[in-house]
Amino acid sequence: MTTNISFLLNGDKISYEIKDHWTLLHLLREEMGLIGTKEGCGNGECGACTVIVDKLAVNSCLYLAIDVDGASIETIEGLASTNGTLHPLQQSFVDKGGIQCGFCSPGMIMSSKALLDENPRANHEQIKHALAGNICRCTGYVQILESVEAARDKGGQNE
């Protein structure tokens, strides 16, 4: 079965013929070539595939593509400006050592963005809670939490 769906992807209007069993992760990565969204487990346990659907951070590996019909999706590819300026969260992750191997980074950044979009003054505990579904094996989370706090403190602006 195929279905034609329309959605906003990083602000662009998209219309796509999908197979009904596709996950959103499959649509993004395998069909549309947006490799920034990573697959770490395919089972909703690691958060590497996190994208934002209608302001909510979701595991795209568990989200059916058919369910984004009419939705607005944000992926890691949509964060930096077209002139190449990094989003403040991306910049903080770079500056504060929040990235080592980098495989969890897009998901981490998307979970952080969903949180700060909703609650720009999230405290340490709220940040820890928001990132609890994103596994990182390299950093021990210390510099990741510092990165998110630094971005929060910049109030959405690059220094």
Binding site: I35, E45, L86, C101, R137, C138, L145
Partner: protein, 769 residues
């Protein structure tokens, strides 16, 4: 005394700076290409079928239905694997098994098809008849005479490996000791859990030369393994090109070549098309190797003043069904056993035993965490028995610069004392107690200046400069997220007076990068760093020659800084580097500035009796932790953590702290939560729900004070720091738990169940009295 730092007064412009990881922006934007992201034209998808039993004869394999499936290009079984194609240093592991399976992760067939879905469907169509054999899952039982044999041809389950040493006279020293502690410890299987799962793409050109894109920490040794595989396939005098994409985590997991790589080669050759094998998470848990589990018997003694008199250790290692680097971890366990603190009489004997379990690999620390857990736990017990403070016993026995340990390790710089100071600054280890709260301390020694475990411990670097003042450096070293690209760039930029952004570090392709033994043993900053420095120094010499000519000055008076060459004391006389390079290039008999350098550290292969200075220098550290133990639930909460490390010099403190934090949390998982649970050889928790990693929710504050001792052999004084962070974590935690509630756990991980059981036992013992 530590070596005085000759660079004390030198102002660095790049070294020592917190420069973000060079590829971090790419990664933050989702542009970095991992093996997951690579697609080649005409590429097929390979999948592997694994055994359904821990130990069984393969009676019959029928692949006809799989072969008949539309879209399937090749189906391979053990029959299709050349006899000599065997993996691992012990050469006991064919990539697809034939006749018999010896563990659940045994590969029994493989398929290449036009899509992953069809490949998976084809696996389901392969019919195999097994006849189950009795399995053996306990290494100590496997050593018994009437135990079933894992490999009949091997005659015994005990591997022929030489892990045995005895220096001094342990028995005499034991008799003369005032205090002796004797205990048994056990450590579990844990696994790397790289966020990016394993994968490879193999392809052959029209001349049967192989290109393989693979996640590897050992491009050069992998190239050698693959060449051997080609040879076994009858392809002699062929070329192998190893291309390493960006790696989604290493931690030792990629230090050997795996079945999926060799199978991708076999499939690619069978189909003459690129074949990609990509692990899913379940496969990653089940079919990649673990940290080496151990059963440890230890005896340590001291005299009435707390001076260590002897250390006697015996270990049994569950080798699993096949042999990889896990079986060589005793070579590194020897290091803390013989050389953590001053102890003259030491004995060690380790036996690796075949079982029908999974086999182990290198993992951050390479045996050191297991040995250090037993050593540092019993050190606390010894201190208590002798009535000596826990910090005091460590100070009394601390290593010191100039020491030569019983194993022949020459201690150059050594900051263990300063690291203990840093821990004491944070907590009063032997101070007053609060109920349910305890502190623990544990120290470490690790190789910090390479580790000669192969014929060469070297790394090559090739450096070229273009007409615009930019550098490309091709290093043998491997960046897998730890930041060798930065270290290389910072060292080169410092030496040549350039900026980090002027340096392009290439470390991905054996066609252009020189040889390196691999990213292991915390050796990359030291060895690859020295290789890069050597190449930069050679180029610098040429720059100074031209500078002297063009600026009419003595080379001694020339300084490279801010992308220019200056005559010191004469600010008027200078020339931008790019101009100098063009002038050198476009003059008659012009010259491009290039240099190569191969750095092989002056360390020694361990000779007879395992004596020899394995590393040019050693890294030291001390960890302190404060925990709260809930006596109702047995739950251990980490309140505070300090990880002090002697790093020689921090080339990049931002990245260095990242290594320490990450190491500590990996160590905390080892201590408290992580375990690959098996039942009769079968992995029971191959997912992130049941394999308990620390999450952001569990994140703790960690202080990571850096002790800079300046090592005279290190690049700008630096030593390695990749592994040490996870080495003393488990004993520090175990010691803190004992301090908090008076129970000692000898078996990792220290789960609430174990703490609770120990508390109950302690309570009933007290009631009986």
């Amino acid at each position: 005394m530590n070596n005085l730092n000759p660079d004390t007064n030198r102002e660095f412009s790049v070294v020592g700076k917190r420069i973000p990881k060079l590829d971090a922006a790419q990664k933050a934007m989702g542009r970095a290409e991992y093996i997951q992201d690579i697609k080649l034209p005409g590429m097929l998808f390979g999948k592997i079928l694994y055994s359904k039993h821990a130990h069984a004869d393969i009676v019959k394999i029928d692949t006809s239905k799989a072969r008949a499936l539309a879209g399937v290009h090749a189906v391979l079984t053990g029959e299709d694997v050349p006899k000599k194609m065997k993996m691992g240093f012990y050469k006991d592991n064919p990539p697809i098994k034939k006749g018999k399976v010896c563990s659940f992760r045994d590969e029994v067939a493989a398929v290449a098809a036009i899509s992953p879905e069809i490949a998976k469907k084809a696996l389901d169509l392969i019919e195999i008849e097994y006849e189950e054999l009795p399995g053996i899952f306990d290494p100590e039982k496997a050593m018994e005479k009437d135990s079933p044999l894992v490999h009949e041809y091997h005659k015994s389950n005990v591997l022929n490996l030489p892990w045995k040493l005895h220096y001094g006279d342990v028995e005499k020293a034991e008799k003369e000791s005032d205090f002796v502690v004797e205990e048994k410890f056990t450590t579990q299987w844990v696994t790397h859990c790289c966020l990016g799962t394993s994968g490879a793409i193999a392809l052959f050109d029209s001349n049967d030369n192989l290109t393989i894109h693979t996640n590897t920490q050992i491009p050069s040794l992998a190239q050698k393994d693959f060449l051997e595989s080609l040879k076994a396939m009858g392809l002699v005098n062929k070329r192998v090109r190893v291309i390493k994409p960006i790696i989604g985590g290493g931690f030792g997991s990629k230090l050997d070549t795996y079945a999926y790589e060799h199978i991708s080669i076999l499939l690619a050759y069978a189909c003459r098309k690129p074949v990609k094998i990509m692990f899913d998470r379940v496969e990653e848990f089940k079919a990649t190797s673990t940290r080496q589990p151990t059963v440890i018997y230890i005896k340590q003694g001291c005299d009435k003043n707390g001076k260590l008199t002897f250390r006697d250790m015996r270990m049994v290692l569950d080798n699993g069904a096949y042999t990889s680097w896990g079986a060589t971890t005793p070579s590194v366990m020897m290091m803390p056993i013989t050389s953590l603190y001053r102890v003259d009489n030491v004995r060690f004997n380790a036996k690796c035993v075949y079982t029908n379990n999974t086999y182990s690999q290198a993992m951050r620390g390479y045996g050191n965490p297991q040995a250090t857990f037993a050593i540092e736990s019993t050190l606390d017990m010894l201190a208590e028995k002798a009535g000596i403070g826990r910090v005091d016993i460590r100070r009394i026995n601390r290593n010191q610069p100039g020491d030569i340990t019983p194993q022949g390790f020459k201690i150059t710089s050594c900051g263990i004392s300063e690291c203990i100071d840093e821990v004491e600054k944070e907590f009063a280890i032997d101070g007053p107690k609060e109920k349910g709260i305890g502190t623990g301390i544990a120290s470490l020694i690790h190789v910090g200046g390479g580790a000669r475990i192969y014929k060469s411990d070297g790394c090559g670097a090739i450096l070229k400069m273009d007409d615009y003042g930019k550098v490309d450096i091709f290093t043998g070293g491997t960046d897998m997220g730890q930041g060798l690209d930065n270290i290389t760039a910072q060292i080169v930029a410092e030496e040549l007076g350039l900026y980090v952004e002027d340096i392009n570090v290439v470390h991905t392709d054996t066609d252009v990068c020189p040889w390196d033994v691999g990213a292991h043993a915390s050796r990359s900053t030291f060895v690859a760093g020295n290789a890069a420095l050597g190449a930069a120094k050679k180029v610098k010499e040429t720059i100074l020659e031209y500078g002297s000519k063009f600026l009419d000055a003595d080379p001694e008076d020339l300084v490279l800084r801010d992308r220019a060459i200056f005559v010191s004391g004469d600010p008027e006389k200078s020339m931008p580097i790019d101009k100098l390079l063009r002038k050198a290039h476009f003059s008659p008999q012009g010259k491009m500035l290039m240099a190569d350098f191969f750095y092989d550290p002056d360390n020694e292969n361990m000779g007879k009796e395992f004596k020899g200075n394995m590393s040019v220098t050693y890294a030291f550290g001390a960890h302190g932790v404060k925990v709260k133990v809930d006596e109702e639930t047995g739950k251990v909460q980490v309140l505070d953590y300090v990880a002090a490390h002697d790093v020689g010099r921090a080339i990049n403190p931002l990245l260095l702290e990242g290594q320490v934090y990450g190491g500590v949390v990996m160590g905390l998982g080892y201590a408290l939560t992580e375990e690959v649970v098996t039942r009769n050889g079968q992995n029971m928790n191959a997912n992130f729900r049941d394999y308990k990693l620390f999450t952001a929710k569990d994140a703790i504050k960690i202080k990571a004070p850096v002790v800079e001792t300046y090592d005279e052999y290190g690049p700008f004084g630096a030593k390695g720091i990749g592994e040490p962070g996870c080495v003393p974590t488990a004993p520090a935690i175990a010691n803190a738990i004992y301090d908090a509630v008076g129970v000692r756990i000898f078996d990792l991980p220290i789960t609430p169940e174990k703490v609770l059981a120990a508390l109950k036992e302690k309570k009933s013992a007290t009631t009986e009295i």
